[in-house]
Symmetry: C2
Subunit: 349 residues, 2 copies
DNA sequence: TCCCAACCTGCAAACGTTTGCAGGAACCAG
DNA sequence: CTGGTTCCTGCAAACGTTTGCAGGTTGGGA
């Protein structure tokens, strides 16, 4: 006291107010730090009266435990890393929401990163999460991800890892996915049964497994019903609205009009919708269209769009549940879960 | 060596692989931890050859710096806490995306929490973020938030705080908002100039400042043009689709049909859209409708909806920029930013 | 009186870094 | 041989906790 430190205690310290610590409480009560620590964590060794005194001062000083120090000591964190291609996409934001929900209940917080569909950013972010010593990681990979080495690093360090929706095929980790092949196959079968014969597919990037599977389901369904698979009716592109718009544009300009379109996902289908409307064509009379994901928007366009329900929020919840299980039971055996994706028939087909 | 510890080193430790540390590297090279630390951070005191040797071993051992220990030592983190009502809502997920973008560039990671519009969860999450010693916090408050005490705690600790969109009126902190009153006033004025006289308003929860301001803008615009403000034409509700649907439902059942509706936000407007279509009424001929936010969906419904563009992603980016500025310059003076919200006229009015 | 629980509390080390300071080695000039 | 550089490295403390262990006090029974 009476020193400069004393004078300035409780005011600025480089313009930053010092958080109060266990030691501050201890000094004030002439106790040791260990006793205070035990008192705060309600340890049976500490008598009630002491606990009450400690609690009172803790409140007065606005004490909050320093999670960083706790984590360092315990050598673990209660933080889950979440890495997705783009946060703002309906599917991912719903999934994140589901993850947060489960994590919150279990006492975890989530760090969210996005790769923006860039492989490099995915690698950087993965490393960032490892630096941060997250307790586990939930990932949906980017379109451009070819190698899974950065995920192998995660596994090597025995940090639990769960993929959802877009998994990395050369990494042996837990997954929460839907059966893209089967969903696509039965969706296209439905179109065929409805009488459509000339069915086009707006496919996603060839490298992405889920896109490959959806494409394969489309092809196999056509084959099963002995319909020809025409190159001119399969267009590869990205996963955004713009891609659907462009694909449709090309088809219209080339004058090859299919009777129905099966799009790799909803945004692509929506993009096609717009171009179709601009061309003053009627959905589904002139051209039927079907998406994939059941994004919110599909039920609101006119006519409402037939699509496949990909339970985004449930996928997030399940991924989080599996991850937390892996973390807390210290299991290392990967666990896979395939969720049902149901066809939702609406007015566009 | 030769001890159990020696035998097991490099394998499991309670089924969890030990991360290698600076000390491990130091031992291997018969250097001290400090030298290794300096070598890794490219300190000029260390000669090149040593740096190279350290770098090599670091790579071999898969060394990654323990951010937790660094944070503890430096007494700060590079983590930003983000607290929003609901992650999956278009507006918020775009904003989060913008925040992540800026944070990533500046070397920060973000922890995302949602309050689910619950005051209690907002308080719990705010405390959680403080425990985690985040470097700063970006918040959009819940519908049910009445008191700002939990934010005062944040400020007391001199943790920089930035509100976006929904700010807490009794807390003196930085804000990134739009001028809800002015936007609403001019939007309703536009409706009036277009000739609509009987204009209804589907308002949000009275407690939320932004909703109050939008309501006030509506009322004042009517007054300015000497139109009556009718109770039967103002309906209070929540901010979701369901609320818009219900409000519209009531109006239709009561047989009071306005010529135009100004909704507090897009989801509410979309809900009304659905009910209007069910009633086989034509938009905008039978009833015009206008939303607020320029959610993606508004341009895709039929007819495309007139709305007010609330630049979600930019609001996120600006909030993050301001926050990082506050953190790095150690400023304590709040900074407010009002962004332009432009009326986007489409087919629904 | 002595002994032994029962009950509290404190000491000190540890978690993995960073960093001020001291100091050793090598070299050169005087 | 002395003294002074320059260059590199190590020691030890510190960040805020947690926790095994030791030790102190109190009170009761014999």
């Amino acid at each position: 006291m009476g020193t400069f430190a004393g004078i300035f205690a409780g005011t600025f310290a480089g313009s930053q107010l010092k958080h109060s610590t266990i030691v501050d409480i201890a000094k004030k009560l002439k106790l040791s730090a260990s006793t205070v620590s035990r008192a705060l964590s309600n340890h049976p060794d500490i008598k009630k009266e002491t606990k009450e005194r400690v609690g009172k001062i803790a409140r007065e000083l606005n004490y909050t435990p320093n999670t960083i120090a706790q984590n360092l000591k315990r050598n673990r964190t209660t933080t889950i890393g979440v890495l997705v291609p783009e946060i703002k996409h309906d599917f991912f934001s719903s999934a994140i929401s589901g993850i947060e929900e489960v994590a919150y209940q279990a006492g975890y917080t989530i760090i969210v990163c996005q790769s923006n569909e860039s492989f490099e950013r995915e690698v950087v972010n993965t490393n960032l999460l490892m630096h941060q010593r997250v307790a586990g990681v939930i990932v949906s990979i980017s379109q451009s991800t070819k190698s899974g080495d950065h995920f192998q690093d995660v596994i090597k360090r025995r940090i639990p890892l769960v993929f959802f929706d877009r998994a990395c095929s050369d990494v042996d980790a837990s997954k929460v996915v839907i059966d893209d092949y089967k969903s696509s196959f039965s969706a296209v079968s439905y179109l065929i049964e409805k009488g459509y014969k000339k069915i086009a597919h707006f496919a996603g990037p060839k490298g992405l497994v889920i896109c490959y599977n959806r494409w394969k389901g489309y092809v196999d369904a056509l084959k099963k019903w002995k319909l020809p698979v025409l190159n001119e009716f399969v267009r590869y592109g990205g996963l955004h609205e713009q891609d659907g718009y462009t694909s449709m544009d090309v088809m219209i300009k080339e004058g090859k009009r299919p009777e129905a379109i099966f799009a790799v996902n909803d945004p692509v289908a929506i993009g096609a919708y717009q171009r179709i409307k601009e061309a003053k064509l009627k959905i589904p009379d002139d051209i039927a269209i079907m998406g994939f994901s059941n994004n919110k928007i599909t039920s609101l366009v006119d006519p409402p769009m037939t699509t496949i329900d990909q339970p985004s929020s449930e996928m997030g919840r399940k991924a989080a549940e599996i991850l937390i299980d892996l973390i807390e039971k210290r299991l290392s055996k990967p666990k896979s879960l395939v969720l049902r994706a149901e066809l939702i028939v609406r007015g566009s087909t």
